[in-house]
Symmetry: C2
């Protein structure tokens, strides 16, 4: 490999690196926490306008955190497994197609490059050369025809666990205020101040690690939390008035 | 375009079609409903073991549905907008790179095809030909170097609204049982039967539209709901005992 190639490889990796931001683990923690803050906070806020007991708010909040973290964690894990199975099924299918309908697959390759304005001669060269290595040909079809990346099952499992646990930690933050106050409305006031600050902080890091403008992203995360909490408060209050 | 090309285009479209399953609208409804069933059901189940009033269960359930649908709908919409902005920023960057560092970009193209075992001559032909059309070159880099598809902002907005509304409808199903029963435990029994059946049905269609084996997928969705509800019930009950 020439030096030039090496340089461009490094540049490409750096370029990619900037897209990925920090490590996937940190990303999962921040995503789980900032999402975990939102719904339990809004639920607690909603109940604060409708019930008289901090114990009920905390119990409901804990139930939501358990439900949400399991739905998110287990759901994410099973979705990861399904994605893996889907990939394997498509992989088998592409191997079958490459083996049994090679001309059709070759014309699919040509079509991909036709769309990018490459001339027929070049299209043919690419298709013929790609067809020489069956595994790489299938790899190419998986990625460029079907847009499927090989899923990492360990990554899916770890990611689901990290997001689920971070959701629990994030969700407990808005609830703490109800432990140290006497009425749900007092709890809500402290909870709102605490949570809005945390939403901003986690929203900031969430945007950083997902490669968005951090302040703008932080404001968005904060805004979603506030709107969800305000809506839950108003609707739960008016709903409770019906009983 | 030759007949052969036409045939392969049609085949490719059919092939793609099978991956997408039904329309995106139906997919969003089914996803929103089956997800909406899970957390409000589990929250209501959790509270049923801890409080004595159906009104509290319903109020908490409604607050959760409001919070969850806003977090999901508004969150999804804003995420779609962010994705759009991210795409535009990367697009601008790729144009800059193609204009100012064309040789580096060309070697990135060569590298992509080197990974698929194409020889240097072919790599050069592709890079040189691609470089002739600036727009298509950038398109190619966006998709194959960065793996970014042009996001559809209308699609993101509609999708978020559909998922959010379907979450509300799905979430109301487990709550209906608490309207027609006297105690939370009675409500939970009816709610559990009703919701588990619905989780199976929506899980079945969810798997169909997302291209998974439907019965297996339906059982997974059902299982997540049951585990989340059972865990929320046990933890909320023991947590409530602390007060």
């Amino acid at each position: 490999m020439s030096d030039k190639m090496n340089t461009s490889l490094t540049t490409k990796e750096l370029h990619k690196e900037e897209h990925l931001g920090s490590s996937a683990f940190i990303t999962d923690i921040v995503i789980g926490m900032s999402d975990g803050l939102t719904v339990p906070f809004a639920l607690a806020a909603g109940l604060s306008g409708a019930v008289n007991s901090n114990a009920v708010v905390i119990t409901a909040g804990v139930a939501e955190i358990v439900a949400g973290s399991i739905a998110m964690g287990l759901g994410g894990y099973l979705a990861g497994k399904t994605e893996q199975e889907h990939y394997q099924a498509e992989l088998k299918r592409e191997y079958d197609e490459v083996d049994n309908l090679p001309e059709r697959e070759k014309s699919e390759v040509r079509l991909i490059f036709q769309e990018y304005g490459l001339n027929e001669l070049t299209q043919n060269i690419i298709a013929d050369e790609l067809a020489k290595d069956r595994d790489k040909w299938v790899d190419f079809m998986m990625k460029y025809e079907l847009g499927l990346e090989k899923p990492d099952i360990n990554r899916a499992r770890n990611s689901a666990a990290t997001i689920g646990i971070s959701y629990i930690i994030g969700g407990l933050i808005p609830l703490t205020a109800y432990f140290f106050t006497q009425t749900p409305i007092d709890g809500l006031m402290i909870s709102a101040i605490l949570t809005v600050i945390c939403l901003f902080i986690f929203g900031y890091f969430k945007s950083k690690v997902t490669g968005q403008p951090p302040v703008k992203g932080a404001l968005k995360v904060m805004l979603i939390g506030i709107i969800a909490a305000a809506a839950a408060f108003l609707i739960a209050k008016s709903f409770n008035g019906l009983f």
